[in-house]
Assembly symmetry: D2
Homo-oligomer: 138 residues x 4
Amino acid sequence: MSFTVRTQVRFAQVDAAGIVFYPRFFEMLNGAVEDWFDQELGCGFSALHKVRGLGVPTVHLETDFIAACELGEWVDISLQVERLGDKSVTLSFAFSVAGERRLGGKVVLVCMQLGVKRALAWPDDLRIGMQNALANAA
Amino acid sequence: MSFTVRTQVRFAQVDAAGIVFYPRFFEMLNGAVEDWFDQELGCGFSALHKVRGLGVPTVHLETDFIAACELGEWVDISLQVERLGDKSVTLSFAFSVAGERRLGGKVVLVCMQLGVKRALAWPDDLRIGMQNALANAA
Amino acid sequence: MSFTVRTQVRFAQVDAAGIVFYPRFFEMLNGAVEDWFDQELGCGFSALHKVRGLGVPTVHLETDFIAACELGEWVDISLQVERLGDKSVTLSFAFSVAGERRLGGKVVLVCMQLGVKRALAWPDDLRIGMQNALANAA
Amino acid sequence: MSFTVRTQVRFAQVDAAGIVFYPRFFEMLNGAVEDWFDQELGCGFSALHKVRGLGVPTVHLETDFIAACELGEWVDISLQVERLGDKSVTLSFAFSVAGERRLGGKVVLVCMQLGVKRALAWPDDLRIGMQNALANAA
């Protein structure tokens, strides 16, 4: 039971070989995380940043690139809560096209108070949403 | 009667002031042009580039930025054929949020044979589709 | 007497045709404007934004793309003050490779107070620097 | 004995919090790899792709983000050959500012024939250059 969004590979994302330039995958991944916060946790990045003064910087990332993604392909990006800490969350992610896995990995996000740039515990609503996502994953 | 697509402002697109960094508007514009080719002209950029060996480089661009777009806003991008040449097309574009215009301008694209990097006349199917779009605009 | 910086076309900037994707030119242009503020006007973007609370959003842009720029090419970007207003400045720019012009245009920047997002008159030091640049252009 | 390049954090690379948006670090990393190929291995990416028909796609990436990089900071990116395979190379990388480490990790690149998208053994000149870099690292 993971969260999945679908996106199409755009001209802006491909390199001279006609395949996605790998840093663009992380822009896509960040977009999927934004959608997850908005649609599943009930707090989009705009409210998170501007109203609540919170950010979720990435502190660890690991990725295996299995096969390339080409211009025009529709990519399913799925996210799964792997581990929930007091101040962090570990998500596993997979990018696939028509069921074929193209890349996968893990990303660790931290809850940060923007002004002082200090990690802090997840607010209750986000923690509960993430706990539910973790329970659904089991 | 213009072609319109809707897109949301992403974290990857905003700058230190929390508003869209202007080069990102042109990535969005290019995405709208890709959708127009795919949905209205019947030839997506993947087929255009890889099967037909054609590209549509931008040779002229002018833009007035009227108001900023913020993180999370839903932006309607509309395209209108203004002028159709043998080897080029002029599109006017407008970005608006909830009916409020944020930027607008014109872009001129040229039909190019990718291998030799030479301008050539639009193939019949694309020319006819663009003529229809121009007629609908009148 | 214009301000010129040199930069190399990177893999991240080229498209499926192996040439610079045009929105990347405006990232390069913005970089040249950053260098101009830092090296000629004596106030880098970091100090401008974080210490002085000022931004310089783009309100108008026009560009003619004459010839493509390829991966690995060294590009000279030159800036020239064309017109200095109370709250705005018009810069002409040209990108060339080994003296051959690849693109050129004009960009209008406005002095903005970041918090309230309101245009305001250039501070004295920036205005004087821009006046000198304008005088040198004559 | 690693290869190091210095680059400045640009406005295009920072996010709403005024710090580098993490996918931009991988654009910087790719730029450092381009410089390494050009300056140490004697074959820039332009010659690699266009003359020799070779690419070096990333197949694995892992990164620990230790501290943020801010607008205007000068970042030293160092690369070190960790392991040289027949068809791949593992590089460790570190980003630091004034000697303070901001992020670090490993990236695995594969030698690929662009047309057929098949991995192949490193050509002699690249293999020898990488062996020397590996020996210097010891």
